[in-house]
Every structure is written in structure tokens, then in C-alpha cells.
Amino acid sequence: MFEQLFPNVQIDDMITATNETLFMTFFSVLGTFIFGLLLGLLLYLTGPGGIWQNKVANWITAAFVNVFRAIPFIILILLLFPFTDFLVGTIRGPSAALPALIIGGAPFYARLVEIALKEVDKGVIEAAKAMGAKYRTIIFKVLLPESTPALISGLTVTAIALISYTAVAGVIGAGGLGDFAYFYGFQRNSFDVVFVCTVLIVIIVFIFQFIGDFASRKLDKR
């Protein structure tokens, strides 16, 4: 039945491609989370009314974020080829996609982090100051815990954008389901392969969405 409907689909190859996509997604989400959180914190803390209010630092961070968000992802990959080569030692394969994915994803997530932090009640920050809290305490014990649900739903949105980026990266040699759909499906006229790749990607997206929504809801005690 399956072989009749999808004559060109090789299960082994599909599993390899799925694994590559999952690998790229997982590590790019991790990297994006770390760098995006740092950038977002920097944007918020140096911004107007922030505890490290600083026009210059804020301007530089914002400029970095805006520039990298403005570059279309496919061009960003090409632009980063020398950097990737230097960092990873190759420009092919799932690992080589990570620098571009993270540099593309982190600024996007940084803006979502900034929005999440702005939602934290100013009164609570003030209360912590009135208790004699250090900046570090305010960041780690007030700002981040109080914005966790928004940070997680932001990360979910970012992760889904990253899954779609991995497919784009695939087309220029990163591997994964995007790569597979393009080279083995589209170029060989095997549309059953394209279809199965699509279904697999959609399933991955749904799983991430589900996990994100669940975690965000669980942690929200408001």
C-alpha cells in the first residue's frame, strides 16, 4: 500500500533526513535561546527606564539586531560562508547550518525577549529594589522568572521559524528534510517524496508548538 502510493520514498533516507532536521532544529533553538536571551536582556536593560539605561549600548544592540533581522535568510547563509568555514571547518552538512541559523534566529528572538521583559510589572521590580536587591538578583530572580511564560511562547514561535529556516538551509547543502525534498523530490520529479517531507516537517512543527504551549501554560501562575 505505502510502496504503491509513495514508490520513490526510501524509509532509511527519510529517517536520516528527519534526524538531520531535528539536529539542526534542536541546536539552533538552543543557540538562539542563549544568544537571543542575552541580546534581549541587553536591549531591555539598556533601554529607556532600564536598570543599566545607556543610550550608546542600546543603540549598538538595536542596530545589530535590526541589521541581522533585515537580511533575508538565504542571503545571510551565503554571506556567512567564510565565517562558517572558519568556525566549523566546512560549509556543508547540518553543523555548518548552525551559525547561520543562530545568527538569523537570535535577533528575532531578542525582540520577543525584550517584549516579554517589558511586560513584567514595574512595581515588582521596584519592590525588589526596595528590599535592597542587587541588579543580578533583579535579573535572575525577578525579571526572568516573571517573564518565563512569555519567554517560552516566544521561543516556540522562534523554533518554528527556525524549522522553516532549516529547510531553506537544506537547499544549499545543509541536509535535512528541505534538502531531501529539493534534490530527491523536486529535481527528480518524485512528488511523493516532496509530500512525505512536507508531512514530516508539519509534524515536527506541531510537536514543538504543543510542547511550547504546554510548558508556557504550566508555568503561568497568573
Binding site: 510589572d121 528590599m131 522568572p145
Partner: protein, 341 residues
Amino acid sequence: MISIKGLSKVFRTKDQDVHAVSDLEATIDSGEIFGVIGYSGAGKSTFIRLLNRLEDPSGGTINIDDREISSLSKGDLRLARQDMGMIFQHFNLLWSRTVEDNIAFPLEIAGVPKEERKHRVDELVELVGLGGRGASYPSQLSGGQKQRVGIARALANRPKVLLCDEATSALDPETTDSILDLLVDINAKLGLTIVLITHEMHVIRKICHRVAVMEDGKIVEEGDVLDVFLRPKQKVTKRFVDQVMGDPDRESSLSLIKEEYPLGEVAQFHFVGERTHQALISEVSRKFQVDVNVLHGKITQTQKGAYGTLIVHLEGEKEEIERALTYVRETSVEVEVAFDV
């Protein structure tokens, strides 16, 4: 305990300088409940935030417990703040933490070890009457309970001063009273100095020992709550006193009373902190051959005893009435007989 000299705060905006607090002087004694009342924009909120330097003063000095708050370095200020508790109009609890963890937060900041923290939190939960709710999240509590958590949190590091920033303004009247009772209780039990700001005279009347009235960034009137109630000098103070003793028809009711009771004597009894002769009316009619008829009035309780005015009609022999009035005059109750209508 707290002495404030020449305190001022200017907010510079594009168009103009706003003098939120200007050249303010005040002394607050140890263990007293000091109330600051004023309408919004009077500068009272800025004033209380200057006390723990949530706002940095533009000029003047604040001395709390022999510590010059206004000139502390950042690190010392943090330590000084741990000796001052603060509660807020909107409670400002961390919604991501349980009641217990909220109360533990200032202890974490002060670096109290875990075991001791737990012990202290249990104590505080009991003190503010939240036994059994320790594991709840703030969103599961009512406004009054949230403020109790706020109070417990403010008391965690055994501060010497408690600052209350409109602490009851977001609560309904009944809850307000229970929170005020708690504050009085804490003040008595722990000997804590409490500075509170409010726009409700009711709050001042109920718990404060001394009151300062603020207008345009300055204290325009200050004194014992009873004195201020009895002899308000400023217009703004009179308006606040009317909030609780409000009596707009007094003039017209007085003339009616005079017409209604041409015989005997109509007198006004002013209660100013009377404690011993609370049952004065029945005392008078028992001791003397007079009938006392209460015509009009309002008595309210303050931290220093009963306060208010009763208009009474005394019926009986003229000399007997005189003797009764003389007796009343010997208490702290002031008597006015031939009052103008």
C-alpha cells in the same frame, strides 16, 4: 528616629521643572505611626519614595536611625533598605512565587540561610494570619490576603521602619479595616515605626498617632491626630476632616434644634480623646436630676480615644443643669452652651 531636613525633589521635564517635594521638614519618632495625607499630586508618593531612595533627592537630608540615607553609597543603600520594609498599593508580589517564597524573597536577598529562612517564613505567615495559605500563588488570594503577604514580606528582615505607600487604597472598606488593625497590631507588638501615606482621612483617624497634611510638595499642617481633627487650621485639612466627620447640614440642623427646644439647655459636647468617661451621657443623667436627650452628633474612635461632637438637650432645674455641665467640664470633654447658630 527619622529626621528630614530641607528635602526637595525636582522632576525635570522638557517644558518645565516640577517641584514634587520642596523644602520639606519633618521628624518622626521611634515607634510611632506617622501618617501623611494629601490629594493626588501633593507630593506624598514622592515623599515616601525618597525615604528609601527609590527616588534620589534633589536636595536636603534624610536621617533614619542615625544613618544618613541621602548620602549612602549604592552598596550601603542596599543594606539600609534591608532595614526598611515597604508595602504598596498594588501589593507588587511576584506571581511566579508562592506566598511562602514571596515572603522568603527579602531573606534570600539578605543572604539568610535556607533553614532559618523557612523558620522565619512560617513565623511570618502566622503573624499576618495567613496560616494554611503558604503554598498558594498570589493569583489565588483576595486583595486583603495579598496585602497580608506584602506586609509579611516587608517585615521579613525585622526592619525598624515600615513604609506604606497607599497600602489600603486598592481595598474595600472592610478589608481596609482589617489591614489597618494588622498594622496597629504589628506596631504594638514589634515597636515598629510606621510611615504611611494615604488620601483617606479614615486611615489617619483609625491608626495614626501623628499626621502631616501635604499640599504642593510641602507639609502645611502637622500634629497629633486629635489636635488636627479638632482644630484644623488649613482649608485642605478641614476638607479632609470633613471626609470622616462630614456634616454639611450642621448649620441648618442647629437652628432647627434651637427652635424645637426653647426650654432647658442645648449644649455641645466636644469629645477630644476622652477615654475614662466614655459613658458620659448616662453618667450625667444618673448623677444629676436632669434628662439628657441626644439630638445630633457623631463620635468616632481614634488611637487616642473618642473624638467628635454631640449636641444634647438637658432638661431639669436650672441649677441642676449647671451642676451637670460643671461636672462635664471637669472631664476632658469641652462644653459649649451659648453657641452661635
